[in-house]
Amino acid sequence: MFGNLDFDVIRRALPYLFYEGMTFTLTLTGLAALGGLVFGTALALMRLSGLKLLGRIAGVYVDFMRSLPLVLVIFWFYFLVPYIGQWVTGASRPISVGAFASSLITFIMFEAAYFSEIMRAGIQSISRGQPAAASALGLTYAQTMRYVVLPQAFRNMLPVLITQTIVLFQDTSLVYVLSITDFLGAASKVAQRDGRLVEMYLFAAVVYFTISCIASFGVRRLQARIAIIR
């Protein structure tokens, strides 16, 4: 059955696949990881703040996001955001956000739920003496978090954070439901146009596998280095 495969179709599609597709995939992954980390850290701080109401809000949000399939969130968000925007700004029509902005917001909100649990574990892994020592020196709560607790929590959790980002990198392929041209979307378009489904999907799998594998390997080396520093 592999006799009449034409792998040359891959070579011809390479510029399109990488310049358009992979660029989008990596941009979305990077921005979503960054935004998710910032928003997730805020959620973690809310949960650990000791203020009951803030903690509850963050807790409900995290549980809610983690109980929904990502593809459904992407889908719903794409259709809802224009109406939410209309409601917020009081415009007369639904606001057009664009597929990229919509998917980016979705991933940030969704990933924040996962990053917040990682950061929460990271913050709790710091012994209570550390914030006590920082307070004793006169640092405020915000300064204690910024200069003492969060840098250590982030460092301790870096391998887990990167692993979560690798999962995110693969999950970004779900934007195909919005017909966005990410890497998988680009491969899929070429596959349909040229009727080369097997070749293109095989190639896409190899690329995702290779990148994720290299990243995982990097994480393991990083873990070894962090273990020495500590």
Binding site: Q130, A133, A136, L137, Q143, Y147, V148
Partner: protein, 243 residues
């Protein structure tokens, strides 16, 4: 300098950790707090800079009430140096940066000034060469000396020590005590929770003995070691001085 009056602390009404503690530390005085473990001595010293809350009573430092909600606690704490049992250096920062962080962020000193001050204090505790290392690369005794230098960098008006040598290997205890003795001789006001009775004999003005959350004895050093009035203090002393 430190006024502690009628301080009570409890977790539940039936679990009282401090009962009606009243004492004071005057300027230039060195007061040693001792007692069996669980007697509340660490809790009491942590109440002084409000690291531990308490339910009733008053504590004031240099005229500022620590249990007043209007008190600017970070500002007050920046003037009260504290040294912990487990050092609590910041492991992600180099030694010199451990000394500079609060100088810059709390006192607003320039980087140059903070580093100069930090290096001077490291030199004083004999650790100038270690400035660029990380805390984990130092021995326990060295880490505790850095912790003392870090507290001194803030130019504190009083120093609190919470069992500074309890987590150290025996051979490192003296290097830390030496730094503390020097400090006492220079006239620093100090409140020290410790089991090191040799240190108490050498530099303390007064000794406070605590048991089960109460201040059982609060006496001048010679009176305390000469003839402790309470049975509990006598028993405690005979136990820790017998070997």
């Amino acid at each position: 300098m430190i006024e502690i009056s009628h301080v009570n602390k409890w977790y539940t009404p039936s679990f009282q950790v401090l009962t009606d503690c009243t004492t004071s530390v005057t300027k230039g005085e060195v007061v040693v707090v001792c007692g069996p473990s669980g007697s509340g001595k660490s809790t009491l010293i942590k109440c002084v800079n409000a690291l531990e809350p308490f339910q009733s009573g008053d504590i004031s430092v240099d005229g500022t009430k620590v249990n007043d909600p209007k008190t600017n606690l970070p500002k007050l704490r920046s003037r009260v140096g504290m040294v912990f049992q487990h050092f609590e250096l910041f492991p992600h920062l180099k030694i010199i940066d451990n000394l500079c962080l609060a100088q810059q962020k709390v006192l607003g000193r320039s980087s140059d000034k903070a580093v100069t001050k930090g290096m001077m204090l490291l030199d004083r505790v004999g650790l100038k060469e270690q400035a660029q290392k990380f805390p984990a690369q130092l021995s326990g005794g060295q880490q505790q000396r850095v912790a003392i230098a870090r507290a001194l960098a803030m130019d504190p008006i009083v120093m609190l020590f919470d069992e500074p040598t309890s987590a150290l290997d025996p051979e490192m205890v003296s290097e830390v005590l030496d730094v503390m003795v020097d400090l006492a001789h220079e006239g620093m006001t100090m409140m020290v929770v410790t089991h090191e009775m040799g240190f108490a004999r050498k530099v303390a003005n007064r000794v406070i003995f605590m048991d089960r959350g109460e201040i059982v004895e609060d006496a001048a050093k010679d009176d305390f070691f000469g003839k402790p009035r309470s049975d509990r203090a006598q028993k405690f002393l005979s136990k820790i001085l017998s070997h």
